[in-house]
Symmetry: C2
Subunit: 425 residues, 2 copies
């Protein structure tokens, strides 16, 4: 749906709800006797037209935070670390999606998942080795990598186990799909570096190895390496965070998170995949017939409503914007449909422009909540025409033994008191 | 220039330089005897094929940083705070542009400028009053503001005094134009809120007031308020940082930074500008004939090469990517031209897509540095056709009494030893 159409729909919603419903919506409180005067009087509280405490004395001086931090009032907006899962050196921390706006995840809240703790790597000592079926095996310093022609692209990253198929299901958007973030990445197209070494005939896969204690290793098809894969050193302008692979990671946009190998130290060009631990005992999908899907690279189209979402509460009837995020490993999001009547009917949401390939896409739908219980949900359709399935549809095909690639629709229940909870929990 | 054209040019540069020049470029060091073997042997150092120290023991566990921070190896990448200017409560901190990639500025490094210190505002107590020439004066809580239909947009912000016209000029890109950053902002279109209050006939300006100790006040033309102005509560996904106006700021994309009033508490709709301190004694431009330009809202088209740039050093002859940023308050960047011969000739740089209106645009040009002294510079052309001027052209018209709106081209000198410095300093 175009932004023009939305403007029209918002105007209509405004005529119908903002004004006729009076103070029910966001319209704020009418101020008696202030039209055109604007005089600011003192009367003992912080509300306009009075002068709040924080205007009466100078604020904090410069220099106390040469690298800034959020307001102390936002101290609850942190990575969501499970209190029940073991959280030692094989750990995950989720992005608090329900507290965020837009599509960029700030670096401090980017999700993390690691298998041997987060290494502390001196970039001056870090090396990337490129060898195997190449004409010239090479070793690169970080300075070497940074001298290649660069690119910047906004892409999402998602863990393939996001969320699990079986109860207990999470209560919040972050509990369910918080192993998901999106950033502007800068680095070198991998194909540029491969061309420098010269691929030999028969080269079909590249084995990527991380410099962490788990030596995480994955096999990547050569087609992806020659397409949009990147060697990345920066996220959202600054250098990678340690949890995201400082000083160098592989980025394979749209592929499951663990294939975007962090702390990248080695690329070996080979003819066959290596069948590493992370592509045999882990990151394969047991099916109901006893077989297992392997090399399930692509993260399929998916979406989630982040506001209103589980754990939040609507405080008043009337206008309520429904907003969330959609993404697909196969390319651009084409459409997001939202239902506010437990799946009976669906409306097109507005997509925030620009819609970028393999990036989060923010969607929005103006809604009037009449104060009665409701179930709301979103489903994403990507540019291939693929439609995000229901959990029942997904389980019917995949069973519940798999841990990965659950891209089901996730509905939220809104109670009459405004409380929002997981409708499938 | 299209990305396809660049790919071609990079391939040509590669054929001519990466390979024929051997190790001169980024090609890294050839590894003898490793072709196809890939065996990792130990021999007492951290370089491949050896196992570095940080792979031999588990890394840092989860949970020590619920809100993340950069690597300790990046501790020098901080806001650039002048040691010579008074830095008390009327202060500025600059973004380290020469250390950043892409177009997004991470929130921890976003530039700041304030006139009465940074207030600590409780969002539950903050109010925005909208009054003056409106049908219904209104007071909004932050919850009210967040219930309106939202938008997210990527826009730059720049202080109008960036840089000064007279020596001493800064040594680095940050010294010169570091009062510049770019983020994805989320908030409410101001026109939506104005429509809620109902503008009266004759409403021509809106006076915006901040809730800081300076009560910073600016008059904004009503046309801008009804165009792309926003009430913003989030930057790069999370809530505004205190230094950027937490919990609410005005965003007037493309207008000088101080008009994007932070800690926004009051909007008064009026027929005439108020001629506040910040639009009379400050933020006006004294001209050579004794008059002063006032209400110089728009930040004109501008660009700067960030790599190589002042304070950096080229470590080897051969391939060198030239990259930088360009921006215009009037809309999209149409073209960036780069000269590597002290302005004798100019080449089109590649613009990173998507090119967004009133946002930073990253540009790049592949270059072969032959090891002799050179002067490099960039000039931006925006979609209106406006061309970024030289400092001499600008001073010829404006003189040197003005402090604001210096959007001159800024060349860098590269010495034979690779050291980069300000060519006009």
């Amino acid at each position: 749906m175009s932004e023009q159409t939305t403007d029209k729909r918002v105007r209509e919603a405004s005529r119908r709800h903002f004004l006729q419903a009076g103070a029910a919506l966001a319209g704020g409180s009418a101020v008696a006797g202030l039209g055109g005067s604007g005089a600011l009087a003192e009367s003992g509280n912080n509300l306009p037209p009075n002068v709040p405490e924080w205007m009466k004395a100078p604020g904090a001086p410069m220099g106390s935070q040469p690298y800034g931090a959020p307001s102390t009032y936002e101290k609850g907006v942190i990575k969501n670390i499970s209190k029940t899962l073991p959280q030692y050196i094989s750990a995950s921390g989720r992005t608090p999606l329900q507290d965020l706006d837009g599509i960029i995840t700030p670096n401090g809240l980017f999700y993390e998942r690691h298998h041997g703790g987060v290494p502390t790597i001196d970039p001056a000592e870090h090396r990337l080795m490129l060898h195997g079926m190449v004409d010239r095996p090479l070793v690169f310093t970080m300075d070497d990598i940074r001298r290649f022609p660069s690119q910047s692209r906004i892409h999402f990253l998602e863990c393939s186990g996001n969320p699990v198929y079986t109860k207990p299901y999470g209560k919040t958007a972050s509990d369910l799909v918080g192993l998901l973030s999106c950033a502007e990445w800068t680095g070198v197209p991998l194909k540029t570096v491969l061309n420098e070494a010269g691929l030999q005939a028969g080269a079909k896969w590249i084995v990527a190895e991380g410099a962490d204690a788990a030596a995480l290793t994955r096999s990547i098809p050569i087609e992806k390496c020659l397409d949009d894969a990147m060697l990345v050193y920066s996220q959202n302008g600054e250098r990678l965070r340690p949890q995201q692979g400082y000083p160098l990671r592989l980025l394979v946009p749209g592929f499951e998170g663990n294939m975007n190998v962090k702390w990248l130290r080695r690329l070996k060009v080979v003819a066959e995949p290596v069948y590493s631990r992370e592509e045999t005992s882990k990151y394969t999908d047991p099916m109901p017939d006893g077989t297992a899907r392997e090399f399930t690279f692509y993260m399929e189209a998916k979406s989630i409503i982040t506001r209103p979402s589980g754990g939040q509460k609507l405080t008043a009837k009337g206008f309520q914007e429904i907003t969330g995020i959609a993404w697909s490993g196969h390319g651009k999001i084409k459409r997001v449909e939202v239902s506010v009547d437990d799946g009976e009917s669906w409306q097109d949401a507005t997509l925030q422009e620009p819609v970028l390939t393999r990036a989060l896409t923010r969607f929005r739908l103006p809604w009037h909540w009449d104060g009665t219980p409701a179930v709301i949900q979103s489903r994403a359709i990507d540019e291939t025409g693929y439609v995000q399935p229901t959990l029942a549809e997904l389980v019917a095909v995949r069973g519940v033994n798999s841990f990965y690639h659950n891209n089901a629709i996730w509905p939220w229940r809104i109670d009459a008191n405004g409380e929002v909870s997981n409708a499938q929990a």
